[in-house]
């Protein structure tokens, strides 16, 4: 046997299970009550269609994704992969979804209204019907959420629904749901937009043979690991798609996807690597789309153990990183430099903070102050995601200039994320798009379940809780600003870059939204795309 194709793959980790971080979204989100201009298809269609001419009906679009092989499923609550997410989006709807800045936009939920304490939310559903003609009701919403929260099943969105007290939540009429929360949650709309919180009809279980959703496409056929064929749903509340048919094709190898696209066998290739993107950007045979700010790239320092329990050592490491070099070397230039904060370009991002630059002298000085001359650390990395091993090598060389000896240790690809959670001191880390609030609640609170930097700060926790019980958006933004200033000064994430997500489309494909980080509503959204 020769090399596994994974080794040639540019984004192995993201490809298979990368959705997880990208989509997780425990607890709430950010969207708040910003309803303006988000409802319906008109806004998306018009911005997307700019310069693309008048949308035209008809045709079949074939889209190739990396998939999960024969174990794939159409159960929207079970999905883990990008392919699952794209299919879920075509067949089902969520109550809300993320806009380009990761704020929650209403979808099946027409509007939402919290009580004064922010722990009781009344959600009104829009008029929508499932593919079999039944209306989408409050009972369907509660059934779906109960199914996801089933402790025996461990559906991935279960953690996202954790703030909801489902036993106390009730239907208040056909299209009104009252969600009772365990604590004030100003970003509750993010819960409704979280990955894998699709609404299915009450009692639905047979998803692989007959998935019934309320999404823009109806089910035609499904062969796990190969192909999924869907047909236009003329009755979709957001307007019927332009395409007659949509076929999802599974092609795990990046070379296969670009070849099939160049050969005219498909019209949309998800997830291309930077070299492919550059090679075809100006060649003209296909269209290359770069979705910016899709993948945060970082080194995670464990703040609860030496040497990183001393904030001066963390600051020294912030100054060691030459970010341009890392972006150029590890991401092949397909990305932007980071400023040690998650969520560049997202709602509440603290973009007013000065960009951190490499400063070896200052790093040496800080290390000396901390009594960490001649420091030796082990950097855990793995081929689990694009650029990890390259980033580790580059950082080792940069650290050597500051007198720090970094030993790079390669870990297993399949258990990397679990391995680095509690062990080691320094590791390569990355994350897909999610609201800044979700990033904080999942990874930076004392009781967060995936706290890879072991950032445990009572004051920080208090600020977060305060933000969650603050109704006013501006006040809340100020609190997020304070949290981010603290993280920027002494946090455990050395965020050095944000990678682009690269897609290829045939030249006939129009209406592909470019301002949509992977995992957001307009990413891999085929109901507003047409074939010219």
């Amino acid at each position: 046997m020769t090399a596994s194709p994974d080794e040639q793959h540019a984004f192995p980790g993201l490809r298979r299970r990368g959705f997880l971080a990208a989509a997780g979204g425990a607890a709430a989100g950010v969207g708040g009550l910003a309803l303006a201009g988000c409802s319906g298809s008109a806004s998306t269609g018009s911005t997307a269609g700019k310069g693309d001419g008048t949308p035209r009906r008809g045709g079949r679009l074939r889209a190739a994704f990396a998939g999960g092989g024969a174990s794939e499923t159409l159960d929207p609550h079970l999905g883990n992969l990008f392919a699952d997410a794209a299919r879920g989006k075509a067949l089902f709807d969520k109550l809300a979804d993320y806009g380009a800045d990761l704020s929650a936009e209403p979808r099946l939920a027409q509007e939402w209204e919290p009580n004064a304490a922010l722990d009781r939310w009344t959600v009104t559903l829009r008029q929508a019907v499932f593919h079999d003609g039944r209306p989408v009701t409050a009972a369907d919403v509660l059934y779906s959420y109960h199914r996801i929260a089933d402790p025996k099943k461990a559906y991935r969105a279960r953690a996202s629904l954790e703030p909801v007290d489902l036993r106390a939540s009730r239907a208040r009429g056909e299209r009104t749901v009252e969600f009772v929360l365990k604590r004030p949650t100003a970003e509750f709309p993010n819960v409704m937009a979280a990955f894998g919180t699709h609404i299915v009809p009450e009692g639905a279980t047979a998803f692989d043979t007959d998935p019934v959703g309320s999404g823009p496409f109806r089910f035609v056929s499904f062969t796990p690991g190969r192909s999924t064929v869907l047909r236009r749903n003329d009755d979709h509340w957001d307007g019927a798609p332009y395409l007659d048919e949509l076929e999802f094709i599974v092609a795990n190898e990046e070379a296969a996807r670009i070849n099939a696209l160049l050969g005219g066998q498909i019209e949309y290739a998800h997830e291309l690597n930077p070299a492919t993107g550059r090679a075809h950007e100006d060649a003209g045979s296909v269209e290359i789309v770069r979705l910016r700010n899709s993948a945060m790239q970082a080194f995670a320092m464990k703040t609860d153990r030496p040497p990183f329990d001393d904030p001066r050592v963390r600051q020294a490491f912030f100054h060691i990183a030459g970010r341009e070099e890392l972006v150029d070397g590890a991401l092949s230039g397909a990305g932007d430099v980071g400023n040690d904060l998650f969520g560049k370009g997202y709602e509440y991002y603290a973009d007013g903070l000065p960009q951190r630059e490499q400063d070896i002298t200052r790093a040496r000085h800080l290390l000396k102050q901390a009594g960490a001359d001649g420091l030796e650390v082990t950097l855990d990395t793995s081929a689990v995601a694009a650029g990890f091993t390259e980033a580790a090598g580059i950082f080792r060389d940069q650290a050597a200039r500051a007198g720090v000896t970094v030993t790079v240790r390669m870990g297993s690809k399949d258990s990397y994320w679990k391995d680095i959670l509690d062990s080691g001191t320094l590791c390569c880390y990355r994350s897909g798009a999610m609201p800044i609030e979700s990033h904080i609640s999942q990874r930076l609170l004392t009781d967060s379940t995936t706290n890879a930097t072991k950032w445990q700060d009572k004051n920080f926790d208090t600020l977060y809780r305060q933000a969650q019980s603050t109704r006013d958006t501006a006040d809340r933004a100020a609190l997020y600003g304070r949290m981010q200033r603290q993280l920027h000064a002494e946090g455990g994430f050395l965020v050095w870059g944000f990678g682009d997500w690269i897609l290829g489309t045939a030249r006939s494909v129009r209406g592909v939204v470019r301002e949509a980080p992977a995992n957001t509503l307009d990413w891999a959204r085929f109901d507003k795309v047409w074939l010219a």
Partner: protein, 317 residues
């Protein structure tokens, strides 16, 4: 002489033992890999509570020997178990993947045998001359190209530039026979290396056989050159080649991963790759059984053919 029958029975019993050993070994190795299906499933969201719940839902919290015994028990009734990650029966996975892989392997072997033997005989007959040197250097060079590189090269020349064949089998599903053009490039890639090793083996064996005393004796008896070459020398030259062929078919059945991935052919290699990544032990075990049985049967067949072609060599086999 105890006869070929008892020999076959002994070989079959040995084969059963070998298969069982492979299954045990594969189970042990998969268990030894870091992480299990629950960890793989959790990916970069390794919430310990969720991993524990998944582990319980998948039955992974039971001890390894219990799981193995349960699986083996089902196996005796022809039940391959169910996939951990999808909950679908393993037999379905195997049946789905088998068709495309078998088709690729068959097409390759059908071309491989005449091509490899023909080139080998040709080179042997022209030993030391230009044809021989040409065949030898081309086969050596071709053998050195990794499948992936060759595959990419063939696609960019024959599919994208010249447009003679489709670049992948995307969208054709398992019905590849209906799209024979999609098979050309994958089969070429699969053919490239075995044809080289086979041709070189046949050439070497043929040169040995042609130089052997019995060939000279046959010639002295006045038997025609053609009969000496193809009736007497070739069978002896083919004996090692047959063994090589059996190994090649093994390799084709389980080693087509690169080709399957590059040309998007949903065969057994693809199933195996995903199953290993997911730590989906029932599927891996099912594949191990299929591969082990195939290997045992093919090698038994090859040994039978070898005995037939060259009875004295068979004693050693």
């Amino acid at each position: 002489m105890s006869g070929p029958r008892s020999w076959i029975v002994r070989r079959l019993l040995l084969g059963v033992a070998q298969t069982a050993a492979v299954v045990l070994l594969v189970f042990a190795l998969t268990e030894a890999l870091p992480g299990d299906a629950a960890v793989a499933f959790a990916g970069d969201q390794p919430d310990p509570e969720r991993i524990a719940a998944v582990r319980e839902a998948m039955g992974l919290d039971r001890p390894a020997h219990v799981r193995l015994a349960e699986w083996a028990g089902g196996m005796l009734h022809g039940d391959f178990g169910t996939s951990l990650t999808s909950g679908r029966p393993v037999t379905g996975f195997l049946a789905d993947g088998f068709g495309p892989t078998l088709l690729l392997a068959t097409a390759t072997v059908l071309l491989l045998v005449p091509l490899g033997v023909g080139l080998g005989v040709l080179a042997a007959r022209r030993e030391g001359r230009l044809t021989d040197r040409l065949i030898s250097s081309v086969t050596l060079g071709l053998y050195a190209i990794p499948e992936f590189a060759l595959g990419v090269l063939l696609v960019s020349v024959f599919a994208l530039r010249l447009g003679w064949f489709p670049p992948t089998a995307v969208g054709y599903g398992t019905d590849l026979l209906a799209h024979p053009a999609a098979l050309v490039l994958p089969v070429l890639v699969l053919l490239a290396r075995p044809v080289c090793s086979l041709a070189r083996l046949v050439r070497a064996g043929m040169i040995d056989a042609l130089g052997a005393p019995y060939t000279a004796q046959a010639t002295r008896y006045g038997i025609s050159g053609v009969r000496v070459r193809y009736g007497h020398a070739l069978p002896n030259a083919l004996a090692p080649a047959t063994q090589q062929l059996a190994r090649t078919i093994d390799w084709l059945l389980c080693g087509v991963i690169v080709v399957e991935a590059l040309y998007v052919i949903p065969g057994l290699g693809t199933v195996l790759m995903h199953a290993v990544a997911d730590r989906d032990i029932p599927v891996i075990q099912g594949l191990a059984v299929v591969f082990a049985v195939t290997t045992v049967v093919l090698n038994l067949g090859a040994d039978l053919v070898t005995r037939r072609l060259s009875p004295r060599a068979g004693v050693a086999a």
